[in-house]
Every structure is written in C-alpha cells, then in structure tokens.
C-alpha cells in the first residue's frame, strides 16, 4: 500500500531556532528518494517531520503541510501515534529493544496493535525477516535477545521490525553509517527490493549510495551557519549527479564525489 508524500511550504523549528525553511517536494509511491547535503543542514530534521517524530523534542514545531496521499498528517484530527504506525522509520544507530528476543522485536509493532494470535505473529515474523534478508541467519535463534546480533544484522532486524506493521512509507536516517561495506551492500540490495512495495526516503552521506539506490535525490544546504537549512534542488538522481541546475549542488557533488 505504498503512498505518495507531498511537502508544501514546510518550516521546522526547535524552539526559537528556525532549523529548516520552506521545503516543497513530492515523493512518488514505490520510489526511493535520498536526501543529501552537508552536516547540520536539516536532513534528519525534515525526515523526522515526515512521521511526526520531530514533535517529541520539547519546543519543536512544524509549519506547513505534509500530505500523505493528500491527507495532512498534521491535521488536527490525526494522531501522531497513528501516523507513525503508517510511516515506519529506521535509525542511524541500530536500536533493537535489548531485553526482547529477536521474534518479539520483529512483532513488537503488531503486538502494540493488539494482534496476539500466535500463528499470525509467527507468519509475519518470518515474512518480515525474509523481507529484511535476515531470515536465514537468525531462523534458528528467534528466542535469543536482539542485542546479540552483529551491527549489520541488528540494522536489518530494525528494518524487519519496521516493515512488520506494513507501513505505507519507510524512512531511513543514515541506515548504513554504522555498518561495514558488506552489510551496507546487503541493506542497499534490500532497499532495492523494498521499493517494489514501499515508498522510501533515505538520508545518506554517501554519494555513491544515493546514486546507487535512489530514483530521486534532494540536495539540502545551509546558506550560512545559524541560518535555516534549505532544499536547494530536487530532481531525478541521474540529473542531479550528471547535470544539476544549481551551482551549489554541483560544487557539493564534485567536491565529494569519487
């Protein structure tokens, strides 16, 4: 059930600090969009507004509209908790629940929704772990704690946990930055697979990764320190990397690329 995302004139604040200014962009269903840009320009901040995680920070505030298939997730009638159920998130640092077993980690979201049928849970658990390319490695030890896995495995466990609730959109904030190259490749392959069913937004500092996995790339930048971050340019990944419109994009990409 992939859905499309539209941001209209989004401004994001941390208390008095205006972190990101006037973002307009659209993400098509069943596509991968990557956010790139220098550190501190607000990529994570924008990503976290997409599932209303931003408002968990005291004083944080969002203006503008974030539409999921035309419906504003910040609409007064909608609940942050319900939004997050529909828009899953994977974090930079793998964060399985340390005291829960692998199985319980995967089905944690379903259990929250009141699914307690053991058979159903087992089915979803297996399907999600397969979907996250982790089934073969852990099928024999589902009852072991999730904290006992390697970093790459933990990250895939977190992806399995996120897709177990069948979200409409999957957000990933630098999902590979704590991983070795082999695990990174595994996750990138996984993203390519997941694209068939989910709308994916990924933040990355790795240009090759953005080029490899995404259909569309958004470049964010800071005009100066202390000023809010801005969306400079968004376009097809091939265009951004070969023939960007903005000089700043070109500078950033050529400065780091290769």
């Amino acid at each position: 059930m992939a859905k499309r995302l539209d941001l209209k004139a989004v401004d994001i604040y941390y208390g008095d600090f205006h972190a990101v200014q006037d973002v307009n962009l659209s993400v098509a269903p069943r596509s991968v969009t990557s956010f790139i840009g220098p550190s501190g320009c607000g990529k994570s901040t924008v990503l976290r507004t997409l599932n209303r995680m931003h408002e968990e920070i005291p004083g944080a505030r969002v203006d503008g509209e974030v539409l999921l298939d035309g419906e504003d997730i910040y609409d007064r009638g909608s609940d942050a908790v319900a939004v997050r159920r529909t828009i899953g998130m994977v974090f930079q640092r793998p964060n399985p629940f340390p005291t829960m077993s692998i199985r319980d980690n995967v089905v944690a979201g379903l259990k929250l929704q009141g699914v307690h049928d053991k058979k159903k849970l087992d089915e979803v658990c297996e399907a999600s772990l397969r979907g996250a390319n982790l089934w073969k490695e852990v099928s024999g030890r589902l009852d072991k704690p999730g904290g006992g896995l390697s970093g790459g495995q933990q990250q895939r466990l977190c992806i399995a946990r996120a897709i177990a609730v069948a979200p409409d959109v999957l957000l990933m904030d630098e999902p590979c930055s704590a991983l070795d190259p082999i695990s990174t490749l595994a996750i990138e392959d996984l993203i390519a697979d997941l694209k068939k069913e989910y709308t994916i937004v990924i933040v990355t500092h790795n240009m090759q990764q953005a080029a490899r996995v995404s259909d569309q790339t958004a470049f964010f930048n800071l005009e100066a320190t202390g000023k809010p971050g801005k969306l400079v340019e968004i376009d097809d990944t091939s265009t951004i990397f070969s023939n960007p419109t903005e000089q700043a994009t070109e500078d950033y990409i050529s400065g780091r690329f290769g």
């Binding site: 999921l68 997730i73 009638g77 609940d79 908790v81 319900a82 159920r85 009141g114």
Partner: protein
C-alpha cells in the same frame, strides 16, 4: 501536541481514513497511566504540605516570643508556658558542628582518594563500604559508639559522643557529594596543570578541589541538615538537661530532638506547646541550611 484524538471529522472524504485511529483500549490505557502517574505525584505532595502545615500551625505560637530564643527551660515548671529553648538550639548546633569538623576533612580526602587515586581492591571495597555506611541506621551508629567508647573505653556520656555517631552518618553524604563534584571537573583542567609541571597532589589541592568547591559545600550543608534532626544518637549517648551546658565534652546537654522526646512524657499542655515549638524551630534551622545549600550550588564553577 500529540494528544489530539484520532476521531474522524465529518468533513473527511468517505474513503477509509489514512490513519487508523488508535484502538479505544490503547487510548484508555494511555490516559489511565497519565492520570495514575500524576496522581502519584500529588499523593507525595500531600504529606509534605500536611506535615509543614501541622508543624507551623502548632508551633508558631511558641516561637514568636523573644524568651523562646533567649532562655532555657532551667527552673521552668512542666505546666508553665514560660522559658525557651536556646539551650537545645545550642546543643543541636554544637553537636552538628563538631561532627562536621571531623567528618568534612575525612570525607573530602576519602572522596579524593576514590576519584583521583583509587585503584584496585581497596578502592572497590571503600566505595562499597561508603554505600553500606550510608545505609547504617542511626541507632546502630549510636550503639556502636556506645559499645566502643562508653562500654569498652569507659568514656562518659556527652555531647561529644553524639558528635562521633553523627560523624558516621555524615561521612557517606559528604563523600558521595564531593565525589560527584570531583568527577565533573573536566580532565583538561588537570592535564593543563600537569603540563605546567605541577605535581598531582598540588593540582588536586589548588585546582581540582577549588573547582569543585561549591558542590562540596552544598553537600556539607545537606549533610549537616540531615544529622541535626537525628534523635536516636542523642537518646543513647547523652542525657537531657533543662539548662544550658556549654561543654560538649562532659555533662548532659539538650538538643532540639532530645527536648522534643523528653517533653513527650510531659502530660501538661505546655509539653505539646514546647514539642511543636521545637519542631518548628528545627525545621526552620534545617530550611535555612537547605536554602543556603541551593544558593551555594548556584555559584558552581562547573555547569552540569
């Protein structure tokens, strides 16, 4: 922010809502938890307010007279509302003061040991024993002083014996507070001093301890506040006196808790009058120390 309900609005499209609202059961549980948790806090505030109101209400009548602060109960009859408690205030202060004079240097040095020098088994044991000492009941500390100094060494009951017991109760508080402050002193400061060729012990004395000073003073004041209200040691280690005794090393000496306890056996209304008056006096003294402690901690050189 996140507390909006998931109820559908009438102007929504007829299609299924994009976000399934939370099930009623989950929402109910969440709200119930919120209510219970707030209630728990209120439940704790009630006794505090209640105690303070009781003590102020019943004690205010006693402490407003000048005699209360300037006279003792020497020669005052049990049923008389005359006299004052300055002998007990003196006792409370001097006993805590002597305890502080002994406990503070030992406590600070022990904390320096734990933070700056401690390695290996002795340090581990010390740290463990500080926790144990913090849990030793005051009556046990008093019994120990009684057993060691009075039964075995043959000393007489006196205010000084009380102070010795209070030392045991103060030590862990002083050590833990100082330790915490020393750990907050940034390492760069130590290294900067070493780089100037200043030996470690001088670095600690001249740089580390002064930086941690305000926190340490706060800890000392809190420790003093804690021991001033202790009743068990005075019951075991010193006799009550209705009149002033300036000598902490011999004779009976009153203190506010001891005076309150003795007046419990006074059936006259004046007994109650003195008890609550002394209670309010004690709370005032402790409050001054507490306030002093939080003022001093404002001047901390290290931002937490």
């Amino acid at each position: 922010m996140a507390t909006d309900t998931g109820l559908e609005r009438p102007d929504r499209p007829a299609a299924a809502p994009a976000f399934q609202p939370l099930s009623t059961g989950r929402k109910l549980k969440d709200n119930l938890a919120t209510v219970l948790v707030c209630l728990a806090f209120l439940v704790a505030v009630v006794p505090l307010v209640w105690v303070v109101v009781t003590v102020v209400g019943r004690g205010i009548g006693a402490i407003v007279s000048a005699d209360w602060w300037g006279r003792s109960l020497s020669g005052v009859l049990p049923e008389s509302f005359a006299g004052g408690v300055y002998h007990a205030i003196y006792g409370t202060l001097i006993q805590a003061l002597i305890a502080g004079v002994i406990a503070v240097p030992i406590g600070i040095l022990a904390a320096v040991y734990l933070v700056e020098y401690g390695r290996g088994r002795l340090a581990k044991t010390t740290s463990f024993m500080v926790d144990i000492l913090a849990g030793v009941p005051s009556i046990v500390a008093a019994l120990f002083i009684f057993a060691a100094f009075i039964s075995i060494l043959g000393a007489q009951q006196s205010a000084f014996m009380v102070s010795l017991a209070l030392v045991l109760l103060m030590l862990p508080v002083v050590i833990r507070n100082t330790e915490e402050m020393l750990r907050l002193v940034p390492d760069e400061l130590r290294e900067a001093s070493y780089a100037l060729g200043i030996p470690k012990w001088k670095t600690i004395l001249r740089i580390v301890l002064p930086t941690a000073l305000s926190g340490t003073v706060t800890g000392i004041m809190l420790a003093l506040a804690r021991v001033m209200g202790e009743t068990a040691p005075v019951l075991v280690l010193v006799g009550y006196s209705q009149s002033i005794n300036f000598d902490p090393f011999s004779g009976n000496m009153a203190s506010l808790p001891l005076l309150m306890f003795s007046e419990l056996s006074n059936p006259e209304p004046a007994g109650q009058f003195r008890i609550w008056g002394a209670a309010l006096t004690l709370i005032l003294i402790i409050m001054i120390l507490q306030l002093g402690a939080s003022v001093v901690s404002r001047f901390s050189a290290i931002s937490k």
